[in-house]
Amino acid sequence: MPDHGPRPDHRPGPGQPPPGRPPAVGGTPGPGYLDARPAVTVPLRWDLSRHARRLLTLAVAGLGIALVTGRPEFAGAAAPALLLLSAWRPGRPPQAQVTAELTASRMIEGERTAVTVSVTGVAEYSAAVVLHPAHEIVPLPAAAGQRPGYASGHRVRLPFLVNRWGRRRVGTAEIVLRDRWRLSEGLGRIGLPSLECYPRPATQRTRVVLSRLPQRLGEHSARAPGEGSEFAGVREYVPGDRQRSINWPATTRRGRLQVNTFQAERSQDVVILVDTAWDGDDPDHHVVDIALRGAAAAAQAYLDTRDRVGFITYRYRARWLAPGHGQRQYYRIAEAMLSQEREWTQDTGFSRLPRQALPPGALILVFTPLMDPRLVETLRDLRQRGFAVLIIDVLRGEPGAGRGRAARLAQRIWRMEQKAIRFSLRELDIPVVHWDGEESLDLSLAPFTRRVMVTRR
């Protein structure tokens, strides 16, 4: 993957975070800007280096053995070490000026980015920077064959990637200064800026479209006649029809003027609901991650066709974002996925969600492992209120079972309960499809994307 950097035309692609703006002059910029912080004074702690201690060991051992055994050749063996040690001089700078800048403060999971660290005020010493990463930060080698998270120089670039979404601290950078003879080492630490990592959207190119769409211009062909580009049929000419739409072959056959009719193009409302209540017990595969990646893919796919997309997360209570369209709405949804409380509307139960959050006639896509019975009841209620609901089951594997007959019996009962939940949902005309988070969403949604989804009220 190429390093994430600012695009030359500053127009982000689909699903890309917005570019950073130039930082404010002389101050600390707010979130969303390239994090160019002013130089920080870092106190340095000087000590004898490990190399100096080894040389001292060689010198003292050689001289000691020479004196004890009376063999001058051992003094000669200690001579180079002693001469190197004699170059040690006191007086070291107590501090250094360090600047740390992130290449990008917003990125997507798995993308490469870098932090640039500059050390000034200590030009006569050689400098090296070691990245001590925070959780889910993976340092990368600056060049092939180099040590990951390490670079030498007064201005270095330390690449890394973020494994998992969230607001993450990058970690700390340790500054190591060495004198010419490598006898003294000065150490200092600086905290690195935080960044926002959005969930990596899965692949989704096809869309589920409802049979009944609201009266709003869009890109989906509706059953009603209109001014779209999808051919619907031929009818007799009435005054007021455009001459351009006259179908001359049909007119010739029938002897009366016939005109082409087209299907109207409408947009739909889509509300994406993500269940974040249960994360599973597999530390390598988080159920919430799969759900968010699927939700990001669905949001991106529907926003690309100018549909209005809303977002709701469920964690025993609901938080919602009103439907909107455009790339800005995708960024708002991505920000909402990071659970920034101040950007959400108030927590509320599903029964109290306003019309703004759940517009009538909307398609509700639910990404859930179906582990919470309260959510299952809520989905049944939504279906009975007339909403079209499609559930994407993101449960991977089963909860860990213990040993013993009772544990096996409990696991069987759990499996039967899960099957019963899915059966009851299907009986209510709520389709349930399974998605493992690895393959494309198109494969799971294929039965519903080939033709419009008809829902009975």
């Binding site: 001058p72 050749e73 000669g76």
Partner: protein, 200 residues
């Protein structure tokens, strides 16, 4: 079109090169000091094993210097915690000092062989420099710059080493142990005097 990886450039930039050099030099120092094992006495096999273990530990330390322990928020399992504990002590223990002491003591257990000791001295200083350059992780440019800066002092040290070895080869000034101690003290004094007047 797939391009072949530039192995030469990777080898030049890689820290594997310096780590391999340090490992080979450490093993060579121990082997050089150990042979032949017969005249060194009964303690020699024990010392050889100890020095060899230190050389292996030093090589393992350099090979794992690039390993990044997980962040503070990670919850490693019991096996991972044992591995991290072992890694911590692997990086803390003074393996290179053990190689130096083991090689010098092994050499001292043998009868006087000044030229052999002089070569061991050169190998030990080379080993320490290679170890430091490998653990500091610098690129080829940095390695050359460090060695270039220290070349005059190393050359002066090599000269003193040759002088000391040569003085050991010369016939002793007097009979008995006093003559030997006198030569050793004179060599130590010469080294100290030269070091003090070195303009660095």
């Amino acid at each position: 079109m797939r391009t072949r990886p530039d192995l030469k450039a990777w080898w030049r930039r890689s820290t594997v090169r310096l780590t391999s050099a340090a490992g080979l030099l450490g093993a060579a120092c121990v082997a050089w000091a150990a042979v032949p094992a017969g005249p060194a006495g009964r303690a020699a096999p024990f010392l050889i094993v100890l020095a060899a273990c230190c050389a292996a530990g030093g090589l393992a330390q350099l090979a794992t210097v690039a390993l990044v322990p997980p962040g503070a928020a990670a919850y490693p399992g019991p096996l991972a915690r044992v591995g991290l504990w072992g890694l911590y002590w692997l990086h803390r223990l003074p393996w290179a000092e053990g190689v130096v002491l083991g090689a010098l003591v092994l050499e001292a257990l043998h009868p006087a062989r000044p030229r052999h000791t002089a070569v061991l001295g050169v190998a030990l200083i080379a080993y320490l420099l290679a170890t430091h350059l490998a653990e500091s992780g610098g690129g080829p440019g940095e390695t050359a710059a460090v060695l270039r800066g220290q070349a005059p002092v190393l050359a002066a040290g090599a000269g003193l080493l040759v002088l000391a070895a040569g003085s050991a080869v010369l016939p002793s000034a007097g009979t008995g142990m006093a003559g030997g101690w006198l030569r050793a003290a004179a060599s130590v004094a010469a080294v100290l005097a030269f070091a003090l007047c070195l303009p660095v």
